[in-house]
Symmetry: C2
Subunit: 578 residues, 2 copies
């Protein structure tokens, strides 16, 4: 049976998409490097995503450090809440996720069990080390953040960020000012994040150092609608809500609008970003038939999320994997960072109408108090102000009020003090914005794109494999070949290469038979190859060959550039070329 | 006296260029985040650099992990060679670079002193803690890499890369294959690098987490020329070679060609990248009058470099700072990684002519040995082959040869063995390529660009500050304003904003007086502002205002886009507009 993952890893290593990191020194699982083709594919995916979030949605981008100091993660909850239950084999010393080992023996989500309970399950069911069959040690919590220290000596404890989001939250005040103190606004960050997985066994699917594209939308707590909702409301979503998961029912295929109306998705804004994300993934080139939206079960939700929908993609070897998560993080993050830091992280919300606040105040009447109590008058006045105005007012209505000083009491009557009502106008209040977060994992999207684009067919005499990437996503746009290694053909081909390379990602190749050169480009998904042959020298025409069909068309050299432009901008179809 | 650094940090924080990282939780020195404008400026600088190295020079880009395992740095030499001499105050517990504390008391480079010697200098000159005047403790070595662990328990020791280069070197075999096994080829990587500085005190100039743009050029050891040298040979360089530094002489202004001819720069390829880098920095917008090329003194060269030239830029507060280093790393890195890993990291170099290798071989004559020695014949034959052919040949010329077996000796005569000369054709040999490395620090280039672009002048009634960034480098390209907050003007302005925003980085602003809005854009270096006023409604014309001159021109709306295109591509000058 063919194993797509194996095929893809083979192509990846051989052609320069993905390489195991520091392989010559014995690579570590969960670490991968991107070769030249992988890097270009990565950039093209990122550019597409940014085009949606930055150009279309108008979000701003920031770049924060990957090392952040300990208090950041005390506040974010990652120090206490971002842990796995672990056990080490007493014989072979390998470490395992204890909760995973008992999965088959329990009905509930293992996340909900304490370490002690997991330990008992291991004992009761005589679960042994999966590597050597040895006895397993005690179950303890292991934090998934990579730890380091800033500065010499013991230094200052710090961690590599487990999500790029925290770099946005801690800068809220700067960002709020940048957005001229108005809500809503959106901020994105793309970049590295780190999770020290215990023993990742899923190849490129579970990386310890990975890349995220995260957007954080700061909204007013009660305004979870979206102004452009009508633009996505007809988008069909394949939902897998909590109820359907628990009752073992299938998916619901439903329009975005109806999903909100029927309260399957809790808010318009969450639904908006589900539909918006579907469009991005489709535009990147994922097979939308292999995409679903799965709601997190309450027990699997991150500590900060009040609701979360994962966008999952189907893989051949690993089943459904998470590509993105759209969460309503509520006011969790800003509140926690404010509490921990003592800084205010709020937005000022103006009331629709200014509110009048009524307040009773105590005004000692010094004209009477002074002559009567002499040097004690000031002390009495101060003490009076500390009293409850309503209480004094009530007692004075029944004649007089006994004020207790440090060593004596004084009787106060209604001439000595005025109790008055004042009104203050308040224009608004400070609120913690809520945060809606569409968060994407780039590496997995890249892998899934490769898998969804991977095709095999028969062309001419031979079998071939190719990627049918969209032209704007493909790492290489064009290849230029001289038919033979003759000076005249080579000069012409180099000229065309130079010209096209100004605008496109082009490779020039003169080695091997033309058939082999086509196969080399097919294998990495280059959408069009241009060949310069003897006819070119006679009539200034070249051939353009299309990857997917393997067909060729002849184009005049002077129309080559505009034809290529039209093909890449979808103004023309290849099959309609003369 | 005005302090440019302070001015710039004030603008940076206020307007969203650079923010101290996790400031609300008490920031740590050496960590800075980029706000929206800083991020755009960063991207524009990177794009320019990549345009030179990737599009023009045809280098390939990779992206490797920032965490790398310990053996990588054992091989690279960073574990033993990347250390600072440190001392801690016994009273206030602050840590200091011990070598810096004794700088004024010594004649030699402090790098060349042992910890013990530095300790003696501290004692002899009674150097005290610069913070509290306390006694300083012993001097010890502190490694500048951030350490962490992969996996649970003690895990596997790993470090955050101190340079992006190592991620290229360890992938040499993959890259060599990607380049179809031919030299030279170039690879770039841009991204984060980390140095756990002891107590950085230079603000954004000395970051602990910073960004590099590195290029590694793999060349044949003896081919340190450059095919395009003639394209840069006239470029004038301001050199500060070792000799001039030691003899306290000034700079040498000299053409690139002459610098090589006079052997001031050791190789054509090093000189090529010096000149090439000057062009990039100039194109980014640095003031080339404040740039110099300083050769590393032998004692300050990194452990891997055989020659290195720093490109330094002049700052107001910090004097000359390093922006880039162009090093000849020789075969140091590949050799070390090969030794440590046991993998071959070489290129195959074909000889110009295949070489014939002569070799003497021993051929036992079994036809004679067999019948004579019976079952011992095979043992004798094997033993014979282990001998030195030249020696046997000589002895046989003098009759016979005594072969020692384990427990006896046998006399061998010239009939029992043939000594023959064979020739083998060898096409080439495996060599370690040499590496030429142009390495740039983005953060410092960004800061210096801000400083070199920072201007103050009087415009109209008031004083203003602005950045005269080049239009393609400026974070914001255009600003669009309706003159007043009237619906008609706003609609028109929004239309123009939408149109231009497809291609340019545009802000829309309707708040405050038009003068204030111009000032806001001036302060961040927006080259052109477009204002929609009452005339627009009458004759479809708008004003374009130029940042640097403060002057305005009226342009017809239908020509706006093409005018903007011409201004940005330098096809037109603002002053030549009608």
């Amino acid at each position: 049976m063919s194993d797509t993952y194996k095929d893809l890893m083979d192509i990846s290593k051989r052609r320069g998409f993905i390489w195991p990191s520091f392989e010559i020194h014995g690579s570590a699982s969960g670490f991968y490097d991107y070769g030249p083709l992988g890097k270009k594919l990565l950039d093209n995916i990122k550019e597409k995503w940014k085009n949606y979030y930055i150009q279309k949605e108008g979000f701003e981008e920031v770049k924060s450090t990957t090392i952040m100091s300990k208090p950041v993660f005390e506040a974010s909850g990652h120090l206490s809440g971002f842990e796995d239950a672990l056990t080490q084999c007493k014989e072979c010393n390998n470490s395992f996720r204890a909760d995973h080992l008992i999965e088959e023996h329990i009905e509930v989500e293992p996340d909900s069990l304490s370490n002690k309970k997991i330990e008992q399950k291991i004992e009761n069911h005589n679960v042994r080390c999966p590597e050597c069959g040895g006895t397993l040690g005690e179950v303890y919590s292991f934090n998934l953040m990579f730890k380091t220290n800033i500065g010499p000596g013991k230094g200052r404890a710090a961690y590599l960020r487990p999500e790029t989001a925290q770099g946005i939250f801690v800068n809220f005040n700067y960002l709020y000012k940048y957005n001229r103190k108005s809500l809503p606004f959106g901020v994105v960050q793309t970049g590295r994040a780190y999770r020290n997985e215990i023993s990742p066994r899923k190849g490129v699917i579970r990386m310890r150092e990975f890349q995220q594209m995260e957007a954080e939308v700061f909204v007013e707590p009660n305004e979870k609608n979206h102004p452009n909702f009508s633009k996505v409301e007809k988008e069909e979503l394949r939902l897998f809500p909590i109820k359907n998961q628990k009752e073992d029912k299938g998916y619901i295929n439903i329009s975005t609008k109806k999903a909100v109306e029927k309260n399957i998705i809790g808010s318009e804004i969450l639904a908006y970003y589900l539909a918006f994300s579907k469009r991005i993934l489709k535009d990147i080139g994922l097979n939308i038939q292999k995409i679903r939206f799965r709601q997190h079960l309450p027990e699997e939700r991150a500590h900060y999320a009040s609701d979360c929908w994962d966008i999952e993609g189907e893989t051949d070897r690993f089943g459904w994997i998470e590509l993105a998560g759209i969460s309503d993080r509520g006011d969790y993050d800003l509140k926690k960072h404010a509490e921990k830091s003592g800084e205010s992280l709020t937005a000022f919300k103006e009331f629709e109408e200014p509110k009048k606040l009524e307040k009773w105040v105590i005004e000692p009447n010094m004209d009477v108090l002074g002559p009567k109590h002499k040097q004690k008058a000031d002390i009495i006045a101060e003490k009076l102000k500390e009293q409850d105005p309503q209480k004094i007012k009530k007692e004075l209505e029944n004649n007089s009020f006994i004020l207790e000083l440090d060593e004596e009491t004084v009787e106060i009557n209604s001439e000595e003090v005025n109790i008055q009502k004042t009104t203050k106008t308040i224009k608004g209040e400070n609120i913690f914005p809520h945060i809606i977060e569409p968060s994407f994992g780039i590496d997995r999207i890249l892998y899934l794109l490769m898998e969804h684009s991977y095709k095999k067919d028969k062309l001419g005499e031979g079998q071939r494999s190719y990627f049918n990437f969209k032209p704007e996503i493909s790492p290489i746009d064009l290849a230029v070949f001289p038919l033979m290694k003759e000076e005249e053909l080579k000069l012409e081909a180099e000229k065309i290469y130079e010209e096209l390379n100004k605008e496109y990602e082009v490779v020039y190749d003169e080695n091997g038979s033309i058939g082999k050169r086509y196969r080399r480009q097919d294998e990495i998904g280059t959408p069009y190859c241009i060949t310069i042959d003897y006819e070119t020298l006679e009539d200034d025409s070249v051939t353009i060959r299309q990857l997917t069909s393997g067909k060729q068309k002849r184009v005049e050299y002077k129309e080559l550039k505009s034809t290529i432009n039209d093909l890449f901008s979808n103004k023309k179809n290849f099959k309609d070329l003369k």
